[in-house]
């Protein structure tokens, strides 16, 4: 009944344009890859382990990111003035690092000859070239983005709600857990997906810091890189496979996504 508004039309057209821009390359990729090759890859043990390592490292990194990142973001969101701006700059700094540099920085900090080398080797811990390194790399690279975005989320939460929770006897922890987090849960969900997506795509820093060891630190992204070195064609098939797996996972995860009661 409602006449379509010019404005809505504009939004739709805009979305369509953007959709084209984004979907076209993906479509081209799908068209260019042969299903047979993809099917073959599906049973390749090396691909399977790489997938497993990708998932494992992402899911190890996630809790770390949440545990360290959420409270930090919340704390940052409560800071004001110059302190806040300085902290934000520090947080944004690692974002611009090209992957190679990030990988080196990690080596310099946590490698055997790095700042913590002594300490770690005395403890008998070796970080580099382990799954731990993959996780640490992900955390180092993705967390700043995650924290900065969560700060924006928390900024959007009405301070009154926390106050109401406190008055009702909630400790600040409870106010955070039962009010602030649930209020931004849809945003958090989006952040989570983006964090995982970013982790999955990581490559340069991981190859430097964690190595490219099949079965141990080789994630799908590294496997694609490796197979690109031996046979570019196969790499594209592998990339397509990654897209398809992601599509399924994303669709599944969205089914479980928190819905907004408010609407």
């Amino acid at each position: 009944m409602k006449k379509p508004r010019l404005f809505n039309l504009f939004l739709a057209v805009n979305g369509l344009l953007l959709g084209l821009l984004i979907m076209l390359p993906i479509l081209a990729l799908l068209l260019a890859s042969s299903p047979v090759e993809i099917m073959k890859l599906l049973v390749d043990p090396e691909v399977l382990t790489a997938t497993w390592i990708t998932l494992l490292s992402s899911f190890c990194a996630l809790p770390l990111m949440f545990l360290l990142g959420l409270p930090s973001a919340y704390g940052l969101a409560r800071c004001r003035g110059r302190l806040r701006r300085s902290l934000e700059v520090l947080l944004e700094l690692p974002m611009v690092m090209p992957p190679v540099v990030a990988g080196l920085a990690l080596l310099l900090a946590f490698g055997r000859r790095g700042l913590f080398g002594e300490l770690f080797s005395n403890l008998g811990i070796r970080v580099t070239f382990t799954l731990g390194a993959v996780v640490l790399g992900i955390v180092f690279i993705v967390t700043p983005f995650f924290v900065r975005r969560c700060t924006v989320l928390f900024d959007g939460v009405d301070k009154k709600l926390e106050e109401a929770a406190l008055i009702l006897g909630a400790t600040p922890w409870q106010a955070f857990l039962y009010v602030v987090l649930p209020v931004v849960k849809r945003g958090l969900f989006a952040e989570l997906i983006m964090a995982v997506a970013q982790s999955v795509g990581l490559f340069g820093a991981i190859v430097m810091f964690a190595g490219n060891l099949p079965g141990r630190t080789q994630t799908l992204s590294l496997a694609i890189y490796s197979s690109f070195e031996s046979d570019p064609q196969q790499a594209f098939a592998l990339g397509t496979l990654l897209l398809l797996i992601s599509l399924l996972l994303l669709a599944a995860v969205h089914m479980l996504a928190p819905r907004d009661r408010r609407l």
Binding site: K160, E163, L166, I167, L168, G169, R261, R262
Partner: protein
């Protein structure tokens, strides 16, 4: 008996909040013009903001003491509060909102449900239990906020205009219910309101704040008989005429700011700024100035006529403003004057009260 005793100082945008107040168990009404600092005061009491200096004691417990560096965080103050803008949790439904306080205090689910259901029942919103609070009507939301504030066995209740959005029926019922609840709880309660009805209902203790200061603290009756400011007079519906007591030919007279001269019981006043108050129902209205009449009169234009019950309230404007309240019959006898008509308002000197301005 654990009352609330507090002295707080805190700067606001345009003035300073300087309050000293003792609140006994039971309801104390907090009255004041918009922006007087009522909500800010409640926030200070609840611990959501800190006074620049002061002392807040609830019974034996010290909630805040700037001298000794004590500042109990809000969640330990055991306070129930209805925020002026409610602050319901948008991610929870009605049940969840009301049960929140019990949940964080560790009550079991069964008890929580029972209590929530009971409150919903009393407030006539049982059908809303599962609704999201964001889709409620204004009054429904306010009921939820009120219910929520009562679930945590508070030792001090701070209600910031908790009935502003309620319909008159609900207001009456909730007022009755609140009183019965508070009689049982017997805790100090501050109720901010702009409703004269409410002030009249909880008439025993009323504190009036203006520009961050307590200007009067007493019973509704005291406000009515000796309003200390124009605002109070207006709230309780008393004519308040500011002016000056001067001596003319050895006799004291009252000259209003508008320039009229009135006579009043001058026994207790000294020459100087003063104000004269007279109840609207002590003001008589005539078409023509009656002979041998009381000497206080004003010839004014009817500004408006409002019928309330069997009474008619009429505002006459001339150099000063006088509100007169008469019975419908009296009004009819006057020929039902309409706004714009010119009438005489007359009152007896001994029925008026006069007082020197307090600083």
């Amino acid at each position: 008996m654990s009352g609330l005793n507090c002295v707080v100082h805190s700067p606001l945008a345009h003035f300073k909040l300087d309050l000293e107040l003792s609140v006994e168990p039971g309801i104390t009404i907090l009255l004041g013009p918009n922006g007087a600092g009522k909500s800010s005061f409640l926030r200070l009491l609840s611990g959501l903001t800190q006074p620049s200096s002061g002392l807040i004691k609830l019974g034996e417990r010290t909630l805040f003491d700037s001298a000794n560096g004590i500042d109990l965080p809000p969640e330990q103050r055991r306070i129930g509060m209805v925020f002026q803008d409610l602050a319901l949790f948008p991610h929870l439904n009605v049940n969840g909102n009301i049960g929140f306080g019990m949940k964080v205090r560790g009550s079991g689910r069964v008890e929580r449900q029972k209590r929530t259901a009971h409150l919903l029942d009393i407030l006539n919103i049982a059908h809303l239990a599962e609704r999201s609070v964001t889709s409620l009507s204004g009054g429904e939301r306010q009921k939820v906020a009120l219910a929520r504030s009562l679930t945590t066995d508070p030792e001090l209740l701070l209600l910031d205009e908790p009935t502003a959005a309620l319909d008159p029926t609900a207001r009456g019922e909730i007022r009755d219910w609140l009183r019965s609840v508070l009689v049982k709880l017997n805790i100090p309660t501050l109720l901010v309101t702009h409703e004269v009805e409410e002030v009249a209902y909880f008439r025993k203790r009323v504190a009036v704040i203006e520009r961050g200061q307590i200007v009067q603290h007493g019973s509704f009756h005291q406000l009515l008989s000796e309003p200390t400011t124009e605002f109070i007079a207006q709230v309780v519906g008393v004519n308040y005429i500011p002016g000056e007591v001067t001596e003319v030919a050895g006799k004291q007279v009252f000259r209003s700011k508008g320039g009229l001269t009135f006579i009043a019981p001058f026994e207790q006043v000294k020459p100087g700024p003063a104000c004269l108050t007279i109840y609207p129902w002590d003001v008589a209205v005539y078409r023509n100035l009656p002979e041998g009449s009381p000497r206080n009169h004003l010839h004014g234009r009817v500004k408006d006529v409002v019928l309330r019950g069997d009474r008619v309230r009429m505002t006459l404007v001339a150099e000063d403003k006088l509100v007169a309240e008469l019975s419908v019959r009296g009004y009819q006898a006057l020929g039902e004057p309409q706004p714009g008509a010119r009438l005489w308002a007359v009152f007896k000197a001994r029925e008026s009260r006069i007082e020197n301005f307090q600083e």
